[in-house]
């Protein structure tokens, strides 16, 4: 793929420069010498016109053959690929390992082993993009798409969302952490024992803590730690703030008469900027949690709120959908 990359870029440069130079050369050679100059009538030889067609066509078809062969490779995961399920939603990435833990925004993979990601979206189209791996695939709602890669060396690589998905599009970022195979096994077993510790060195802006267990549990713990439940009940009784039971999906009337649908965006906004939309009948007393909560923590609380449904359909960790194994072998 890199060879193709450089081949294509090189031909592009050579061509543009050649055309530019020829134009300049002609300009110098055939300057207008008098205002009444006449010029001969020149018709190109048919052979020349044919060359104008055939030479670029040959190059372009060569590009296509090389490019398409590589592309088929990019679209065809090997049979022994390890499957990880990915769910994109505004504006985070959720990863689920078969029979293993879930994580938000941090994908851990072993090096030297092909990994297939099976991806779907909960809301709008996102696109899973890791520039360093040269992989990109749109993540569609209502459908599954796949992408595969094989990391060669341990390291950390940024995941970006490449399909425009709204206000948080540019901060819908995550990270692939490529571990050595044995470290990866250790991490998985630690996850299973629930004993994971931070293994990623000093925290950086990108260093989102991998959640323990599932998001809902984590959200429940956070809601207690942060004091949310002092004002918001989870059993339906009204307190200082609106109850969280059945909050998600509810239509709330605001103090200024507007109606909002309570969705992830609204919940997040209420945490970050509580005075933006005050529910009718409540006082604007909630403190802002901007800069107090990291992205995944917000996500965890949102997930927790979403799990609080009286018919309890949304509890439990996200499970990867049932897939057939990779076909063809």
């Amino acid at each position: 793929m890199d060879r193709l990359h450089y081949f294509v870029i090189l031909t592009t440069f050579v061509m543009s420069t050649a055309v530019g130079l020829t134009a300049i050369f002609f300009f110098i050679l055939y300057r207008r010498r008098s205002e009444t100059q006449t010029t001969p009538h020149i018709e190109p030889a048919p052979l020349l016109e044919a060359a104008f067609v055939i030479i670029p066509l040959a190059f372009f078809l060569l590009w296509w053959v090389m490019g398409y062969r590589t592309a088929i490779g990019l679209a065809t995961p090997p049979a022994d690929a390890m499957d990880i399920y990915v769910q994109g939603k505004k504006w985070m990435w959720k990863f689920a390992y078969p029979g293993g833990p879930n994580s938000v925004n941090v994908l851990r993979v072993p090096s030297g082993r092909p990994v297939r990601l099976l991806m779907t979206s909960r809301d709008v189209i996102h696109s899973f993009y890791v520039p360093e791996f040269r992989v990109k695939q749109d993540v569609l709602p209502g459908r599954y798409s796949q992408v595969w890669f094989q990391a060669v060396e341990p390291g950390r690589f940024q995941i970006l969302c490449a399909e425009y998905c709204g206000a948080g599009h540019s901060i819908m970022r995550g990270e692939v952490i490529v571990l050595k195979a044995e470290e990866y096994e250790d991490w998985v077993s630690a996850q299973h024992r629930g004993l994971a510790t931070k293994q990623d060195g000093p925290p950086t802006a990108l260093d989102f803590a991998p959640p323990l267990g599932n998001l809902v549990d984590q959200g429940r713990r956070l809601a207690q730690e942060q004091g949310c439940v002092k004002c918001h009940s989870v059993d339906g009784s009204q307190h200082i703030g609106p109850t969280w039971l059945d909050l998600y999906g509810r239509r709330e009337r605001l103090s200024d008469g507007r109606i909002v649908n309570v969705d992830e965006g609204y919940i997040t906004e209420s945490m970050m900027d509580p005075f933006a939309k005050i529910v009718d009948g409540f006082k604007p007393v909630m403190p802002s949690f901007a800069n107090k909560l990291a992205g995944p923590e917000v996500a965890a609380i949102v997930e927790y709120i979403k799990s609080l449904q009286s018919d309890a359909v949304r509890t439990g960790p996200s499970e990867g959908p049932a897939y057939a194994p990779v076909r063809g072998r």
């Binding site: 088929i72 065809t76 520039p131 950390r156 049932a322 076909r327």
Partner: protein
Amino acid sequence: MAENGEHHSALPYFLVWVALLILTVTTYVTGRMHLGTWALPLAMIIAVTKSLLVILFFMHLWEQKGANRIVIATSFVFVALIISLTVADVATRFPLSTPAGAPFGTDIPAELEETAPEYQPPAGKIGEPPRGVPQPK
């Protein structure tokens, strides 16, 4: 108005009309017979025949200039183009793209159950970052 003088009787219009009615009955009858695979092609053949009758005789394309013929032919070519290439996409997608159990799920047609083409990963290192990208620490 070149065709002014030599204009003929109205009989051809009635003939075309009768033909259209016969074709309508045919497509109705064959449509009720549940012919399976052949229902769609047959219905489309009849519809195309009918539309040709309308275009050529009712719309007088038979006696008009070449440019007009090209125009209508082109539009049909492009209809075929958008339909065929779009359906080709849906028909040849990654087989798992709508898995069983999706709320609207469909069964994967048997002919798509074929094996993926044999492929060896490219020789180059995949994980290597492109030049110019700062390496994350």
